[in-house]
């Protein structure tokens, strides 16, 4: 059973994620944040902002731990306490935002008409995942220590194609569920609106404000010495 859940399932999730996101991208039309702010804006501020800020900080924390576990294991006592307190606050912010988002969704008829089954599924998956995460952070101290020491080697072993299941099967059930939830989350990305974070607009920072698209090379096309191009323009 453990082999199935911690040895095979992560690979299923990652493969589905890659194939699914590429399949869904195709023309790019199916990638959107599917914002519902246009239909309801008042309640969104107190739900969307804490949710997004919380989940981004927590995900970044997990990711840094994954990349640089020594930063966590070498940290001193006071550092761990303040670090865990701050991240717990962001975790609470994320779950509070999510609960507000779900209340907003179920209370508002307009939002319900633009709600898909996958929206509801992913919200419950996230709710369970956040709940587990907070429970783990409070009850199984200090998470940043054993995450760096035990979980990171397991996660890394997945990427070296030699999953070290013994580490994770010795963990408490809450942690095991949290791991399964994480890979379920990755599996569901291509089938939900979560794809929008894959196309986060960082390129906006460096691009010039105005964009002009030419459908032909405006100078070359008039030059009788060069044959007209028959290749498609870059953006098509």
């Amino acid at each position: 059973m453990d082999i199935l859940l911690f040895g095979a399932f992560p690979y299923v999730a990652i493969v589905v994620f890659f194939i699914g996101t590429i399949w869904r991208y195709q023309t790019g039309f199916k990638y959107s944040s599917l914002s519902s702010q246009f239909l309801e804006t008042k309640k969104l501020f107190l739900s969307s902002v804490p949710f997004h800020v919380g989940i981004l900080v927590i995900l970044t924390g997990h990711f840094i731990g994954f990349l640089f576990p020594s930063w966590f294991t070498s940290a001193g006592g006071d550092g761990i306490i303040s670090f865990e307190t701050i991240t717990l606050a962001f975790g609470l912010s994320a779950i509070a935002g999510l609960i507000f988002l779900m209340i907003r969704r179920f209370q508002n008829e307009r939002i319900m008409t633009v709600t898909t089954k996958m929206d509801i599924l992913i919200e419950f998956v996230l709710l369970v995942q956040f709940g587990l995460g907070i429970w783990i952070a409070v009850e199984l101290r200090w998470g940043s220590q054993w995450y760096a020491a035990v979980m990171v080697p397991y996660l890394r072993s997945i990427f070296t194609l030699d999953p070290n299941i013994s580490a994770v099967s010795a963990m408490p059930i809450a942690v095991q569920l949290h791991v399964i939830g994480a890979f379920l989350f990755i599996l569901l990305i291509p089938f939900t609106r979560l794809v929008h974070f894959l196309v986060a607009p960082f390129h906006y920072i460096t691009r010039p404000y105005q964009i002009v698209r030419w459908y032909w090379d405006k100078k070359a096309i008039r030059d009788t010495d060069t044959p007209w191009t028959t290749t498609r323009p870059k953006h098509l």
């Binding site: 906006y204 964009i211 100078k219």
Partner: protein, 515 residues
């Protein structure tokens, strides 16, 4: 010099009868589908009035357009790189559906399927979003013709800097007047929507300057809705993508006029090519407010100038486009005759839709007779009460300052607050009327008409040309549209066989949310 061609427009407001045929033509072709019911890419507003969405001109509410900072640079008021990315989870300046109206239909089937009963069946309104019965609070153009009503006309943002007395005078029953303001996307030279889009989905076409949203790149970050000061980008709540007027580019590429212009009953709309120097965009958009309009008009180049022609050809502009620019009705109205002005130039987007301001409020002028003050002219009608209704032409120049609409109101709309600019255009239009009255009716002497024309620096030939282009233009004089040169731009659209069978707005796959 980086010369580009731009499809530009002139709307002649004196000719607009407010029939909304343009709006219906546009709606039928482009926005009659789920998520787009509330979108009016073309709409006709009654002025004074609040417009669509409600009070769209008030940028303290909607935060649209550019603003000039003390450093001399311009920046987007409610979006841009810093504000746009910081507010990406929640856009505080996003209008919601209630700023427009909740789209609705009626349960017509209830009328037909109602069983026999003692009372008449009714068709209840149902929301087109939720499908549930709703109480309609607002609908498309419900402010139509409602000048003077407290809910609409008096909330016009253009009245903000008028004195209380001036506002009161506008809404006295005997003085009340209104005119129509048809609006489409301005296809600006310095578009705020393009600059605000985090995904880079919105772009200006290099060949003809049409501003479009790439549906496959749009991610629904919805900053364009905030940034466009004219509120002409709309968020499709069903597909999660923004949409806007596309100047009927599939039509203009084959030389057809856009649907709104083609169907215009009053023939108020003109479409043509303007050549401009793209190197100057930022500099002109950052001008001082008082110079904005003149600098923008100076930016458009003379298509007859050999230097301009040579530079345009070097830049790849086709001969047919140059010829269209030389015959452009827009060039005549804006540059030669100087009687058309952009709407709200102070938003600094350099709009390419110009308006000939309406004369109606000047012509039928009502003044309060003070004591024994003489009538302006012998033909002026003296009513039994103290009101003087003066349609005489003799002293009409003198009445521009006393027009029914304070000049300041018109200047807020078309002159970026500059009243002299407006007075200049209105005097020109009036001089042409005096001249034509002299020609056709003959009750105005040749000297008087010549003096009126001289006063505004017009020759009789020019006045005749303006009259002809205003009153008697043929279809191909109103719309001078160059070919899109598909033969040289094989990929201007998708390969045609790939889009065969697609209709309407042209989604290449069904617009469904999520999966």
């Amino acid at each position: 010099m980086d010369i580009r061609s731009q499809m530009s427009m002139v709307f002649h407001l004196d000719k607009c009868i407010g029939c909304h045929t343009c709006t219906v033509a546009c709606k039928n072709i482009w926005t009659d589908r789920e998520g787009a019911e509330y979108m009016w890419w073309n709409n006709v507003e009654t002025k004074p009035g609040t417009g669509y969405p409600t009070k769209w001109e008030d940028q303290e509410i909607y935060k649209g357009g550019w603003e000039k900072h003390s450093s001399g640079n311009i920046a987007l008021k409610g979006a841009g790189k810093r504000k746009g990315l910081l507010n990406i989870f929640y856009n505080p300046a996003l209008p919601t559906i209630d700023d427009y109206y909740e789209p609705f239909t009626y349960k017509y089937l209830d009328l037909i399927e109602s069983p026999q009963q003692d009372v008449q069946p009714v068709a209840r309104p149902v929301s087109l979003i939720t499908g549930k019965p709703i109480d309609i609070k607002m609908g498309p153009n419900w402010d139509d013709d409602l000048s003077g009503t407290p809910d609409f006309a008096r909330k016009d943002p253009n009245l903000a800097n008028l004195s209380a007395a001036e506002q009161e005078a506008m809404f006295q029953l005997e003085r009340m007047a209104f005119f129509y303001l048809p609006r489409i996307c301005n296809h600006c030279l310095n578009p705020a929507c393009v600059a605000s889009c985090p995904s880079g989905a919105i772009y200006k076409r290099g060949e003809d300057g049409v501003v479009l949203i790439d549906q496959s790149v749009c991610r629904g970050w919805r900053m364009c809705v905030t940034a466009c000061p004219y509120k002409k980008t709309y968020y499709n709540w069903s597909t999660g993508k923004s949409e806007k007027c596309l100047l009927c580019f599939p039509r203009i590429e084959v030389g057809e006029a856009p649907a709104c212009m083609h169907s215009c009953v009053g023939r108020i709309r003109y479409l043509g090519v303007m050549l401009y120097d793209a190197d100057k965009i930022e500099q002109v958009a950052s001008s001082d407010e008082k110079d904005l309009i003149q600098n923008q008009i100076d930016m458009y180049l003379d298509p007859h100038d050999p230097e301009v022609i040579a530079a345009a050809k070097a830049n790849g502009i086709a001969d047919s486009t140059l010829r269209a620019a030389q015959n452009s009705p827009i060039y005549k109205f804006v540059k030669e005759w100087k009687i058309a002005l952009p709407l709200h130039a102070e938003f600094r987007t350099l709009p390419n839709l110009f308006y000939v301001p309406p004369m109606l409020p000047v012509m039928a002028m009502v003044g309060e007779q003070k004591g024994d003050s003489p009538k302006l002219h012998s033909v002026a009608k003296n009513w039994d009460d103290k009101w003087l209704y003066d349609t005489s032409l003799d002293e009409i120049f003198g009445t521009i300052e006393n027009m029914r609409f304070p000049l300041k109101y018109m200047a807020n709309l078309f002159g970026a607050g500059n009243e002299d600019l407006l007075a200049d255009k209105l005097k020109k239009l009036m001089a042409i009327r005096i001249y034509r009255r002299h020609v056709t009716v003959g009750d105005i002497s040749a000297e008087k008409s010549a003096a009126a024309l001289a006063d505004v620096n017009l020759t009789a030939d020019e006045a005749e040309a303006i009259y002809k282009m205003t009153s008697l233009p043929k279809f191909n004089e109103r719309f001078v549209i160059p070919a899109a040169h598909r033969e040289q731009a094989l990929e201007m659209l998708e390969a045609t066989e790939e889009v065969k069978g697609n209709t309407g707005f042209g989604f290449t796959e069904p617009p469904v949310r999520g999966l």
